[in-house]
């Protein structure tokens, strides 16, 4: 069975490698972030398979953390237009 897990993990890794084309070619910034989001999910699947193949449940914790945290980067991207890039800040008058 472990060959099956490793073989599938291998194919999923290939889909990530192929998916890189979308990041390179993606016309808009949003397409690129989409591809990163898909890689997160595929990475979780690969980690689950690797964890099962190695019989080591610590690898599943890595998958759990990926499942939790890929949303943070994506949400930062969604709110990137609101990032406060105003160069003049009030503290110039007075403090320095």
């Amino acid at each position: 069975m472990t060959e099956l897990y490793l073989g599938l993990a291998l194919i999923l890794l290939l889909t990530i490698a192929i998916g890189l084309v979308r990041i390179l070619r993606g016309p808009t910034a949003t397409d690129r972030m989409l591809a990163a989001q898909l890689f997160g999910t595929t990475a979780v699947a690969i980690l689950l398979l690797l964890g099962q193949a190695a019989g080591n449940s610590a690898i599943w914790d890595v998958a759990l953390i990926f499942a939790l945290l890929t949303a943070v980067a994506a949400v930062t991207f969604v709110r990137r237009k609101d990032i406060d890039s105003t160069t003049e800040t009030e503290e110039h008058d007075g403090t320095d």
């Binding site: 989409l34 989001q37 449940s57 499942a67 939790l68 969604v78």
Partner: protein, 99 residues
């Protein structure tokens, strides 16, 4: 090959189909919204089948619950992020693709 191994292998091959469809959709679909559609297939069904397949192999119920938690988290986060990205793209005036 015990019966459970057979079922697991079958489920894993099914999940592979969804992941390939997700990646193919990401590359081939003409527009952001269609790609978003393809992407969420990969994580709720592709990952769902992987989790199901591994659940059959597991021997204790804690493992089952841990796998389920991982899948539900990816599901919730993926769906919400997909919605947020689509909403933001529409606000930025991204026109859906027309033939």
């Amino acid at each position: 090959m015990a019966l459970t191994d057979l079922i697991t292998a079958f489920l894993l091959l099914g999940s592979l189909g969804f992941f390939l469809a997700g990646t193919l959709g990401l590359l081939r679909f003409p527009d952001l919204y269609c790609r978003l559609h393809a992407l969420t297939k990969a994580d709720n069904l592709g990952l769902g089948l992987v989790v199901l397949a591994l659940m059959i192999q597991s021997d204790s119920w804690q493992v089952v619950i841990r796998l389920l938690l991982i899948w539900l988290l990816v599901l919730v986060a993926g769906a919400t992020v997909a919605h947020l990205i689509a909403r933001k793209a529409q606000q930025d005036g991204h026109q859906p693709w027309r033939r």
